[in-house]
Symmetry: C2
Subunit: 388 residues, 2 copies
Amino acid sequence: MRDVAVIGVGLTKFGELWDKSFRQLIAEAGSKAILDAKIEGKDIDALYVGSMSSGRFVDQEHIGALVAEVSGFSHLHIPATRVEGACASGGLAVREGYLAIASGMNDIVVVGGIEKMNDVGGSEATEILATASDQEWEAFFGATFPGIYAMIATRHMHEYGTTKEQLAQVAVKNHANGAFNPYAQYQSPISLESVLKATTVAYPLGLMDCSPVSDGAASLVLCAAEKAKKYTDKPVKIIGSGQASDTLALHGRRDICTIDATVYAAKMAYKQANLTPKDIDFAEVHDCFTIAEICAIEDLGFVEKGKGGKAIDNKITTLDGSLPVNTSGGLKAKGHPVGATGVAQIVELTMQLRGEAGKRQVKDAKIGLAHNVGGSGATCVIHIMEAM
Amino acid sequence: MRDVAVIGVGLTKFGELWDKSFRQLIAEAGSKAILDAKIEGKDIDALYVGSMSSGRFVDQEHIGALVAEVSGFSHLHIPATRVEGACASGGLAVREGYLAIASGMNDIVVVGGIEKMNDVGGSEATEILATASDQEWEAFFGATFPGIYAMIATRHMHEYGTTKEQLAQVAVKNHANGAFNPYAQYQSPISLESVLKATTVAYPLGLMDCSPVSDGAASLVLCAAEKAKKYTDKPVKIIGSGQASDTLALHGRRDICTIDATVYAAKMAYKQANLTPKDIDFAEVHDCFTIAEICAIEDLGFVEKGKGGKAIDNKITTLDGSLPVNTSGGLKAKGHPVGATGVAQIVELTMQLRGEAGKRQVKDAKIGLAHNVGGSGATCVIHIMEAM
């Protein structure tokens, strides 16, 4: 397998983007990445696009070819493929792009991720998101994702003594980081009190424990590592890629406080990178709900199982902690246009590893990890990256 | 890049399968392929599933992980990814599975394709299929796929003198082949007269010029070619894989009678296989409408542009012709569960190249080609296969 590097990145602002269409968003992110990589359309061998439910959010399937077209490349007839794995769609698109180059088939691949969620109403968005859960065993009975993650949180509190305050501290930290990210949906710090006092969505999760409904797109240019320096002085290499699956419904899992898909995907990625969790300098993890970040840092091996809450108390994961987590603001503050999230995580890793993350720059960032989850953990995809 | 072979295939019957669920269908096709390949769950490195619009047809996205689960593999945490490119979703899933092995990342990959289209009403199915066309420039104005292909047919008749009788002969031929396929939705021959007299859907296309709304699933086991003989005496190698894109809407194309995505994908696949159209012994092409088969045999280089109708007259593409096309019955008679189609085409190629196609067996079949199209030609994926 050939080594693969990121040579360009692009993001739109995340948020409620009423004045921009699906087509405009993906074209904006893609053209930024292409300009950043200093490539032209004719250099692109393939396109991969991650989107969870464009068919339901904007009535448009077949978006691989559409993205090639709205980017101005239809005359080049570039192979263009959409990849889906619920909220992990973006990370899966990165992985397919990575494989297309690693195989030797392609030299340069553009990866995009997008979701335009606000064109439907809030309750319809929740219903569409529930198509990522098990329709027959969960959604049919009214279990939406806040309810599913609330069950995980309740059990985590029962098993390990995790507190509502620890959950809230995840939101406070991620909003503090988001305040330094000009692309974030929310760029203002919030207080612990405001999180704790927010309306309950599904106990113990309040409104401020939940990531928002967002519009946005992200894009990357991937290149065979041996050719990357032709395009940029600062290529960032993908040194590990892992993916795993589990049951769609929570009831089939070995332990609802452990996302086994994360455990197995991490094992695969660490093995390929020849690293252990201790070697990771910073991480973007899938904090769709505050409890999800606590489970993630445990399942990724950063702390022992059950010690995630304590790690938040001890400020390990803050921007100046020993392992900064979600420097971008995470899904919580940066926003969570579901198909874009996994790609945007790689954008953040790339910016950090290039030393271009501004006020949220992690000192001496050498190795970063991105952790992208679909549903309540039926899909997980992980990438580990290092500056070349 | 490593060579890749098919070592197992599985199909469900295609049709209006009221008594089988989405989950049952994909599990049935997958387990048949796995039994055919004589592998076990622990041998599988990855799963790819093609489906166009499971989110709208059965309210379920995130079907990669679901397929792993309903196949009984959730405890193995196998990476599972859904791939979408409208009616080319199946072919794209094959290509991603192919790349995963060619890259050296995986040794054995299971590929599935599925659509369960009859759980919604007929008019809703047409509306869902229209999400593969351009929502803003076509579907919004009421152009559904029969109308779009009717425009292609009308222009082809005007430019090249193609006749309604030639279109009808495509349906007659494919039904004759389908009569020999126990998995086909329609297993009875039809007369030229019945096609010509059928209700007009969109002139010049009548009901019998259109592929049906179908339920069904198909599956393959792919293996690194160097290891294939461990599992089967009759591996079938993928010797060329090509993919290309074009505008979603017809109005953006250079020439509406030519599917340029086919032209470019074919060029890529022929180049990789080091073959020309003359070397192909038989083909499965994407006959979603009869005119589509005529365009396909032209765009694949089997006959000159404009001579597709004449080729049908001359019986070149019949089972005993010089280039049998759609020996399975094609989308027209075998049925067209859209996400399954591209995978089912590879199943047919494999059966023919193994010499297991029964009454529809092509004599001395050595090299076969599968041609899978999304929408009206915005995506095309082509595979060329040869017995090892």
